[in-house]
Point group: C2
Chain length 875, copies 2
Amino acid sequence: MTKYVYMFKEGNQTMRNLLGGKGANLGEMTSLGLPVPPGFTVTTEACIDYYKRGKEIAPEIIEQIYQALAETEKLGGKRFGDVTNPFLVSVRSGARASMPGMMDTILNLGLTDESVQGLAKLTGKTRFAYDSYRRFIQMFSDVVMGIDKENYEELLEEMKEKKNVELDTELDDDDMVELVRQFKEKYLELKGEPFPQDPREQLIEAITAVFRSWDNPRANYYRRMNHIPYDWGTAVNVQAMVFGNMGEDSGTGVAFTRNPSDGTKELYGEYLFNAQGEDVVAGIRTPKPIAELKNDNPRLYNEFVELSSTLEKHYRDMQDMEFTIEKGKLYMLQTRNGKRTAQAALKIAIDLVEEGVLSKKEAVLKVEPSQLDALLHPQFDSEALKNASLIATGLNASPGAATGRAVFNAERARELKDQDGIPVILVRQETSPEDIEGMAVANGILTSRGGMTSHAAVVARGMGKCCVAGAGSVKVSEAKKQFVVDGKVFNEGDWISLDGSTGKVYGERIQTVDATVSGDFEKLMNWADEFRALGVRANADNERDATVAYNYGAQGIGLCRTEHMFFEGDRISAVREMIVANTLEEREKALAKLLPMQRDDFISLYKAMKGHPVTVRYLDPPLHEFLPTEESDIVALAKEMGLKADVLRQTIDGLHESNPMLGHRGVRLSVTYPEIARMQTQAVIEAAIAVTKDGLKVVPEIMIPLVGEVKELKYIKDVVVETADAIIKESGIELPYHVGTMIEVPRAALLADEVAKEAEFFSFGTNDLTQMTFGFSRDDAGTFLPEYYEKKIFENDPFAHVDEKGVGKLMKMATELGQKTRPDIKLGICGEHGGDPKSVEFCHDIGLTYVSCSPFRVPIARLAAAHANIKKPRN
Amino acid sequence: MTKYVYMFKEGNQTMRNLLGGKGANLGEMTSLGLPVPPGFTVTTEACIDYYKRGKEIAPEIIEQIYQALAETEKLGGKRFGDVTNPFLVSVRSGARASMPGMMDTILNLGLTDESVQGLAKLTGKTRFAYDSYRRFIQMFSDVVMGIDKENYEELLEEMKEKKNVELDTELDDDDMVELVRQFKEKYLELKGEPFPQDPREQLIEAITAVFRSWDNPRANYYRRMNHIPYDWGTAVNVQAMVFGNMGEDSGTGVAFTRNPSDGTKELYGEYLFNAQGEDVVAGIRTPKPIAELKNDNPRLYNEFVELSSTLEKHYRDMQDMEFTIEKGKLYMLQTRNGKRTAQAALKIAIDLVEEGVLSKKEAVLKVEPSQLDALLHPQFDSEALKNASLIATGLNASPGAATGRAVFNAERARELKDQDGIPVILVRQETSPEDIEGMAVANGILTSRGGMTSHAAVVARGMGKCCVAGAGSVKVSEAKKQFVVDGKVFNEGDWISLDGSTGKVYGERIQTVDATVSGDFEKLMNWADEFRALGVRANADNERDATVAYNYGAQGIGLCRTEHMFFEGDRISAVREMIVANTLEEREKALAKLLPMQRDDFISLYKAMKGHPVTVRYLDPPLHEFLPTEESDIVALAKEMGLKADVLRQTIDGLHESNPMLGHRGVRLSVTYPEIARMQTQAVIEAAIAVTKDGLKVVPEIMIPLVGEVKELKYIKDVVVETADAIIKESGIELPYHVGTMIEVPRAALLADEVAKEAEFFSFGTNDLTQMTFGFSRDDAGTFLPEYYEKKIFENDPFAHVDEKGVGKLMKMATELGQKTRPDIKLGICGEHGGDPKSVEFCHDIGLTYVSCSPFRVPIARLAAAHANIKKPRN
């Protein structure tokens, strides 16, 4: 028979998967001989079984619970329902991974009309006993029975009014007894049956409720955000209650072994005598700093300090502990590795190494890669944030905090910012390449449409700029220069604030504090570099981004999107001239104008990267993206180009595509217009020769996008090589260069052995690969993906984390096939996934050479790569 | 050393790959002892080598050619350049597969200033000799040197004018001698060097020219249409010339062993005494029917009859022969299996079985599946077609011939056809579901945009209606009700004609002849059925199509696209009501209106299929396809629905997608609106119960489209099963049914083992699978695919024939993974490829259970399936 219930003394910290984090730690503390109130854990497997049976606890599991309960009673020397010495328990969730506040908890379970009298007698506190009973009825109703607690709060308010008092604490014994009577009456009225008087019945209902809460929307959302699989299930911990409110020799508190904000080595926390946890939370009384316990009760303080130290040493990490003192006896209710700020995480990791507790390798694992974001971007002042008015929530598309005046187009953003120095937030339905300059001057970007890989999101991450994307409830009217959210109108110039790390939008100005990178950061990143096997490059299209990337430790550029260079100033005119050209000659003339600009771009990129490799992706987007769509813009452009508006409109109509994502773009453009590839090759190679002459060594990598068939790569590679070799020969300089391809079309992955005959390197373009493998576009998926999460069809956004099963299978195939043809093939990834720690780990595991990500995610990728290699070292 | 040149006597018909068809047959005839002028074949491998070397013939191959030439001279007893008995040769291409007229031929090679005198002396015909020389110079200039033959035609015209004659034949000896002089002068002028006087140099140049012609645009196009790989190369046959124009005891002719039009067993052909092939082609003299040879020269006739009979028996197929009589001696210049009409193919195959020459299995192989098209669709009267004016060429999207008056919208099509019985051709830029009724009444459909799987093409093939799609040069203005092609305007009511089998568009009325299906057809199809392993079903959405399919032998419906049922009459109103519904209740109300109509549809489908399985695919296209896009239509619809136009426009805008192909469609609709799946299930099951009560056995198959993840299939399957089981239980009837899925998203193929846990059958949706695997949409690929063909990146349209390497790899994976989970899983294909013989063969090879195709392609698929199983029998 499967064992579904474990006494605490049977558990230990290695049993986390079965007992959950809390259960495993309670077991560990019990085994260590620490003072832990007795109890038991119902396993995660019981939860899985519960769901498998259609939400029912199997009779054999109930049987095991009852047995454990009996043993717990024996251990505590108390009995459920005992009138003289009643036994009460808490029932708490505890999953493998911490999900604070996401699931339900029930305290004081076991109180009945009889045992409440025992509690009153035992403690000599009628008011306390009935107050506990009242709270239990309310909590049980709410959590277990789904009865709104408002029903009870009303009765409490009426009583206070009647007695003409303001605080609960001012109610006396009789008032509480009366309230309990009223609460039970209300329960009967709403449920149609009396409040259960059998503690065992209460217990099974409560455990069921905790299992059920695994599936509440809050928990589902949290899991999705934190990649916690639905099928893990939660354990349930049933523990004897101890009371911190039995007089001045009782109390309760929480403490950290180190300061969780800055990492300082000091006991940090607070406590309150004669109180239960709830009193602290309710804010009725103000708790005292833990340091004061030293004066209040030196014995207890010393005992707690010793316990803390034991726990930190045992767990080799900063601990977050809950304790209760019942009549002078200290009980540990919980310990866990404490949450901490990024700054504290760095300091603690480094201090623990210096204290000889951790090795460098272990220290590197103590800092979560995703935490680094907070160090690299401005954040809201935490005090200022407290009272801020949240108006909407979108996708946390690019981290950091921003505050500024709302503007609705790029031009106005520039005017306000450049001329008057006014901070602005650019608000758009969705952004397009024409908005780039506006995005560059804005403090943040807010869009109402688009997902994690929409234009706004990708560009903002590249710029290291805060962005909240796809905030659907924000109705943007660019024409009226306003947005409406929940009926409230925001006009141009109104202050708003964005938190790109959480996706929150606030309707006011909020102070921000700048990013700060300490010496600890450098130290830890250097350690991380010692342990990683995966290279880290950056996606950068200009000198500014490349410099940021270089400073953050990028070992090269993995993706330079040349089209981003095509939108600025005079360039866009030349690009448009090229597009409307009717003959090869006209097109070449326009391209000739672009050549010197592209060459200069590459020179500055090479210089910024100081000799590290630079991968240049050739023109990728469909040409219509470079042309206007609005009638007035078309007329203006036609005039500028000396064309009839009709003719220009015809060109634009001719470029229209039903599914531009699947249209005339990428390598297909080069096949149709090899002269574009020729110009880009000339620019790449001439720039490399120029910097080589200046003494910088550079190996350009030319990357052809959207290849699905080796012959199309071959066709363009021939053009590239012919052009490049002629220039190199003429220069008289030795210049190695490589030609490779993106793997972003499923067919290229399937036939990677053939593609590798021509490609000297692969770079996985996982944005497109994800779109084509799933058959949905990132721009449109927003309309149905929420239903997919709700219905648990998807647990993760495949555009945020590589879909390892499907897309990952193609990546593995391509990797193996590519290596079969060309054993030393260089393998990278340059999709947005390259900066996602979970995806970085996957890339390490399948053997890629490097990942490439936005400059501001480079440190995250470096740390994630170190984690991956520490967990699963490469041979 | 590789042997690159074979004497005819060294070859035989098994060496087709190396010697080409013509070379192998010349070898075979020589071996049989038939009178074949001596010669040799330069192999296809030599051609491949030629391209590999950058278009150069290797010295060793030239050496082998010279050796074979010497041997040929010996065999013929003549010598190159001999002034008394000159040796002349023909140089002809000959690929593995016949490519008639696609490559170049040169006759009379070996003529020089000296040998022409020899020829004149030998034949006693100066005029003939110099005329031959003149033609050779012209042909050599054109084919070998790329000099336009107009240059020479001009000189000929001048000469005729000067001599005041009309026909070439009226020029005398001296005129011809003079013309040769002028031709050589012209050659010198244009080439800068004299006409080559060394026959060996002429020969190598000519062989080079034939190799080169393998790569001409005509040949490339022909290969693409006929799936002949580019890398096969062509062989070249060099053969001693014999002359049919040496007097009345000489002649030339062509003949078939059976009538190629209707298959009658009779010698069929024509001949001409004292003539060369060219004279026949030029139409200067009218050849006589072969039967007359019996009177003209009984000896030769009998000899030829005997040879013909020998050849037919030897090859066990109807032969197409060329012969020449030189001074009373009969020479066979070529034999091959003769091209024949579909009708003749059937008759010959069946007759040969009855004559005991072929087995049934062999007879089945003698009819090409694609030929059957001609039997199933109307064709142009071949006489009427001869002088028709071709105005444009598009894609041969749906076969058959049609003639009618041009109309530009569905409504007008109905008016003219229904009210006045006037035959119409519907001309549109592209069609949409709203055009269906217009398409149904039209004789044919012409579109200027869209590919082989565009809406027009798919629907037309389903209706068995002629369609020419994507005729880019036809500029359609639906507003002006006209189209313009090459500056010529066609207005509503003007007669036009379409050939959907060739893609040709004619600017006039052309008589058509109806399709005729003979008893031979039935007989051969029955034989085919005996040999095939693959099932054949049809794609049909209504009773009419289903009945056609059933009559053509479909063994079930493999794809019923339910959305096609949603456009007719009242239904579209209910569908639109459903789309604009704001609440579940409103949506269910609208669905309730659709239910009885859907149920009736299914009842009639089940009845039409008489108990064969019917696969119903649930709603697939994005909802916006059911709503209008034109402002005026929106206003009208809003009025009809009692909505504000603004509100409706907002709904329509809200449904807008950047890439609808990758948007909210297929199973995604069902996940968002499970009530649609519920209604469709109710209709499918209730209809099945109704016909079951009427005594018909039916097993409905419910097919969920666009699945990419097993959990989304499971989600909907649960809805389907719950709904279906409740209805079945209530009915008290036993009704088996199956739930399966399309495999059309790459991810589903990659994870088919998981998908098969829920799917009871797979049906490959190769249209979408091709789009997503290649990453291009069929609607947009038209802009760049032509360049891909031209640059030989693609040799085939992947939407017409399954891309076996890429898409096929996914299909194979999915097949194997699916069978791993569910060994008896039913595997079908319902993409457009299901009716393409080449793709059917592939489906057989990878082990599918059935193919499903348009009703009119069912016989083609049956025959193709038989071919596949005969070639590679299934265990």
